[in-house]
């Protein structure tokens, strides 16, 4: 049985009221959900745990809405993105706008060009590594800040594509948009990241790669 088939079977059992099946689903997807929430809302956002928990509560409540033709992974990602958007809307409400950390976490609006124009987020890109992290930690901090500093839609497309291995079709399905729109978002995100991380990734500089 393929992983996708196993997921389908799991969802059927959850719909039939098998609590053990839901527990298996939580264990199988908690890492992915946590990773997506953290990178989408920003690595410094303190509410990641609560949002990730809310995702699974939403999944359980919506278990009867799932249809067998839908890929479970895409469905879970869609619910995760909706929970994150809900959190972003909440934090953008007038009540929360007073919170100083808001702009630090979410920076600019969905269009994404405001921050660059204001110069906001540049300081984040020079965020010092924690004491003792060394060069490797400093590079990781720069990369985290660069991703955090991407406009919201570009960040989501980048996270799904780069960190979750989603195809353009899958990213489009999760984001509720078209494949050309996803390609455009990714092109802009890559262009921005290339500029922001130029000193680290340009040929002839510190070797890039996953081997931190």
């Amino acid at each position: 049985m393929s992983p996708a088939d196993a997921d389908q079977d799991l969802m059927r059992r959850i719909q039939e009221g098998d609590p053990a099946a839901f527990e298996v689903l939580v264990h199988a997807y908690q890492g992915l959900v946590f990773s997506l929430v953290r990178r989408y809302l920003g690595s410094r956002y303190a509410g990641v745990d609560d949002v990730a928990q809310d995702v699974f509560v939403r999944i359980y409540r919506a278990r009867h809405d799932w249809e067998p033709r839908a890929r479970v992974k895409t469905w879970v990602y869609s619910i995760t993105v909706n929970a994150c958007l809900n959190e972003i809307r909440k934090l953008r409400s007038p009540k929360h706008r007073l919170v100083g950390s808001f702009t630090a976490v979410f920076g600019e609006g969905a269009d994404g060009e405001g921050e660059a124009a204001r110069g906001g987020g540049v300081a984040d890109l020079h965020e010092p590594a924690a004491a003792g992290e060394g060069v490797t930690g400093a590079v990781a901090a720069r990369v985290r800040s660069a991703v955090d500093g991407l406009p919201e839609q570009q960040r989501l497309a980048t996270v799904l594509s780069r960190f979750h291995g989603c195809s353009h079709d899958e990213v489009a399905a999760v984001m509720g948009t078209t494949v050309p729109a996803v390609k455009s978002l990714l092109m802009r995100a890559r262009d921005r990241l290339r500029r922001v991380l130029a000193d680290l990734a340009a040929p002839g500089t510190v070797p890039a790669g996953d081997d931190a």
Binding site: H27, Q30, G31, F34, V139, F163, M187
Partner: protein, 161 residues
């Protein structure tokens, strides 16, 4: 036959992105490779882009916090919440029950002489059922009398005197 030089910068960028993502057929990919050989600046830009994308791998995942799945199952109503008592809370509760038990024994012995059947009944209930409900049902005056270990005062308080 694809002529990349004839394309607009946006179109050319899209073709190069498709090449980078492995979306071109073999013939088109070979044409792009030939074009890149003649345009080292574009080749460097493509390499820079690839290295930047790889660099994102430095943004590592953090482990899921301990107890996360248990909290999720409780929040979803799939698993009943566990009663979480800290050790000192448990020790305090045990000490209170012991004190109440001792006090109850004393009062039961004294009850016929002091006429405090209400307290005896309450404390027997505490001892027999180990419940704090009876204690919570006491009025302030009854509770103070119990703490003072004063059966006569408790009898007064119980009868509303």
């Amino acid at each position: 036959m694809m002529d990349l030089d004839a394309l607009s910068p946006e179109q050319r960028a899209a073709v190069l992105a498709a090449y980078r993502d492995g979306e071109l057929d073999d013939a088109s990919a070979r044409e792009v490779v030939a074009w890149l050989d003649a345009h080292p600046e574009a080749l460097r830009a493509l390499e820079h882009d690839r290295r930047t994308w790889e660099l994102l791998g430095r943004y590592e995942d953090e482990p899921v916090p301990a107890g996360f799945s248990a909290r999720v199952l409780e929040a979803a109503g799939v698993r009943r919440p566990r009663l979480r008592l800290r050790p000192y809370t448990l020790a305090a509760a045990a000490a209170l029950l012991l004190a109440l038990g001792a006090g109850a024994g004393l009062l039961v012995r004294q009850a016929p002489e002091t006429g405090a059947p209400a307290l005896a009944a309450i404390d027997l209930d505490l001892v027999q059922h180990g419940s704090l409900d009876a204690l919570l049902s006491l009025s302030d005056a009854e509770f103070e009398a119990l703490l003072a270990d004063d059966p006569a005062r408790l009898a007064d308080a119980s009868t509303g005197g």
